[in-house]
Amino acid sequence: MIAFLRRLFRNRLAGLGAVTFAAIVLFVVVTPLLPLPDPNATATADRFMRPFSEGHPLGTDHLGRDLLARLAAGTRLSLAVGVAAALIAATIGSAIGIVAGYFGGRIDNVIMRGVDMLMAFPYILLALAIVAALGPGLMNALIAVAAVNVPFFARNIRGITVGLAGREFVDAARLSGMGHTRIILSELLPNVLPVIVIAMSTTVGWMILETAGLSFLGLGSQPPQADLGSMLGEARSALITHPHTSVVPGLMIFFIVMSINLLGDGVRDALDPRLRSGALSRPRAMTEVKREDPVPAPTDDLLALQDLHTQFHVGDRVLRAVDGVSLTVAPGECLGIIGESGSGKSVTALSVMGLVASPPGLITGGAVRFRGEDLVGAPYERLRQARGDRVAYIFQDPLSTLHPLYRVGDQLAEAIRAHHKVAAKEARARAVALLRDVRIPNAESRLDDYPHEMSGGMRQRVGIAMALANEPDVIIADEPTTALDVTVQAQILSLLDDLRRDRGLAIVFITHDFGVVAQLCDRVAVMYAGRIVEEGPTGAVLNAPAHPYTRRLIACVPELGQGRRELAAIPGLPPTLDDLPAGCAFAPRCEKARPACSAAPIPLEGSGRRAVRCLYPETRPEEAA
């Protein structure tokens, strides 16, 4: 509760709402104690006195009545009526909702049909019908406003109750012989009460506004009694000659509704867990870059990552997802990057083209060079031109990575037309060719499919076709087969392998599966906690892993036909990335760890193409190479 209030008031707007609302309530409570004139005492000689007149701080209305006194009385009445309507609507609506949700079946069906019917009416129209039947009057307006809000509560509370009614504690209560009434009152009600309160806090403003509206129309409070709405309605005839009589009650309604809206929003936000972590930030078009150290000198590799640092800044925490990674890729080469989830392999891949979600992502150092050009420091337009054209991506789950509302043909054509000025017809023809390239049968008719109409394997072929669209030099495949069946996985892998051989593509293949690496990759880099711990030709690393982590990772892979080999899971969990140890990050999980391992940073050492970041490697890289 205290945490909730703190969150509520950290939200400055909600605080403003709370202060405004408190001031209005204070005004309403204090004014009866002040020596104000009777709000209904007319004095026709003093009609339409301007604000700041003597004895009438806000002036007088068309009958010479003191506006301040009337404002206080009107505000009190409006608040009371609005809150009363909210309470009535919440009580009746919640009762209906709980009964429908708890009993379910036919009762639920009948009740919710009725609620749906009521919700089919435009809101205010229903209130008008009720007032028409009951006759104008404040009490009837209150009943009408409460009645039209009943369905809202009934539907919300029913939804919550249905979820609760199937839970164990309700079953337990039922088995212990409790009656329905007791279950509803003692088990369900306490659980739905917070939801009712939130629903009230977001609707009470509306109800105040609607009762004021009915009074404004002359259907609510009748003279001489006046709420804010009827004050405004009476003042309307003098709007042009004496606007202050309209402005005073109008502004008061505005401030009441605004303060309640702000408070309601604040309450909802404070209770919405997604906003707490700040997760609702919108990722920008490219990853933010804040490099302080000098940028490493250019190389003539096709693609080179040089001492790359990518971090996530979440609140006060700094997560070092990529912590000084250097890699190179040659034309036609397949480089595997392997690691557990959270090792930073995907972030490394996304950093290449500035696709790390930012905020919270931030590239803090190093460079990504494509044919010598630094992409990290490149302006947006340059980066956009390279994306998909020179370096293309294939992502993990093609159901969520393809746009669900566009036909796959259009999505393919868009990839082409983002980089080449071609006519729609030609783009379509090329899209057919691309689908054929990835061996999709009936390519022509498949163009008009939506992603949800295809199988997982077909979708991923579309994903691959999209990456091939502009004949890129490098394809970065981020776990492209993880979401697929094993047989489909094998087909996709062999497709990628064929494409690479046919076109001389370089592939960076991100995976957590050594089996896949063995099948496809020339070289492999093993990542742990944002760093490369071992690197070398695939065969050498697989046959003689140098880093204890690599050895354990290989041991995790079950092999068919290898008899009873024990599958060794690695004990412990990867470290949290905002609290990395100075030395080896794997030391706490390593059997061979000695004090020296954790003392100081360990360099990635090796000769030729084989390197390891370990003080006590399983095999000396020199020997293995």
Partner: protein, 315 residues
């Protein structure tokens, strides 16, 4: 598609029947004798009896409902006592004025709301976002009738840009420019709240969508950011925005009551308020059923639009 529309239309039949039942039940809430309520306390017993007979009130309730329903299906909504003309004629005449007002407002709030929401989301936490959020906050908090009155003061009385009220000028009006001049203020005042609500919804829907994987895919393809926002993100966000448009249409349609009173707009809302104050219950009854039925049909159009937009909906 044709089948889907037919299916939705058929499913509207029970809703429409439900609406007539609800209106009928509400109208039978009238305390005491309806004929006395209509004619007032000074009516002679003969008059009361005659009216009771005219209204069919001496029949049992269920029978009365079916007679009323049957007559309505024949296009006979009864006769207005205060205006002494058929209810349906009056409704149709007034409803066209309301449709012009509410329709314009609905188009305004849809366009402005979505635009504001998209800009707000695209520039999250930037100046434009803060400004829009602030204006939206005021928009959803200000009562439309008060806003309308203040607009009259500013634009009609002080600046003299626009006419104070009415739908056409009394002398020499009646053409389209005249209508537009009269329509501007009421349409803006009526759309204010809905614009705010739609803008908020559009902003959060866009923020939600911009975090999705397929937006990252579009960026990875090299699609320009402007296109990522307008084509990829907005298209997907529309799936969440369209139902809100449907709900807001209901608010605009019924909120027109206040605006019609403030601006002396000769619409169905003003007719209803006058009818309530003169106890012309047949006119109220007919008007409410008619407008509610139109709203139900409009919502079917919204559903159809949704199914056109989202191929995943089974049609």
């Amino acid at each position: 598609m044709g089948g889907y529309i037919l299916k939705r239309l058929l499913s509207a039949v029970p809703v429409l029947l439900g609406i007539t039942v609800i209106v009928f039940l509400i109208m039978s809430l009238i305390p005491g004798d309806p004929a006395t309520a209509i004619l007032g306390a000074y009516a002679t017993p003969e008059n009361v009896e005659k009216l009771n007979r005219d209204l069919g009130l001496d029949e049992p309730m269920i029978e009365r409902y079916f007679i009323w329903l049957y007559n309505m299906l024949q296009g006979d909504f009864g006769r207005s006592y205060s205006l002494n003309r058929p209810v349906l004629d009056e409704i149709l005449e007034r409803f066209s004025a309301t449709l012009i007002l509410a329709g314009t407002s609905f188009i305004l709030c849809s366009i402005l709301g979505i635009l504001a929401g998209v800009v707000s989301a695209a520039r999250q936490y930037g100046m434009a976002d803060k400004l829009i959020t602030f204006v939206v906050l005021i928009g959803i908090s200000v009562p439309s009738f008060f806003l309308g009155m203040m607009m009259i003061l500013l634009f009609a009385v002080n600046l003299r840009w626009l006419p104070v009220s009415g739908m056409y000028a009394i002398y020499g009006g009646g053409d389209l420019p005249d209508l537009i001049r009269h329509l501007t203020m009421p349409a803006l005042a009526l759309s204010a709240v809905a614009t705010g609500v739609i803008a908020r919804m559009a902003r959060s829907a866009m923020l939600e969508v911009l975090r999705q994987d397929f937006v990252r895919t579009a960026r990875a393809k090299g699609v320009h950011e402007r296109r990522v926002i307008t084509r990829h993100a907005l298209r997907a966000a529309m799936v969440a925005i369209i139902p809100v448009l449907g709900i807001q249409a209901g608010f605009v349609l019924s909120g027109a009551v206040y605006i019609e009173i403030v601006f002396q707009w000769p619409g169905v809302g003003r007719m209803l308020v006058d009818a309530i104050l003169t106890r012309d219950l047949l006119l109220v009854q007919g008007g409410v059923v008619f407008v509610a039925a139109c709203y139900v049909l409009f919502n079917i159009a919204v559903d159809v639009a949704q199914s056109l937009l989202d191929p995943r909906i089974k049609t």
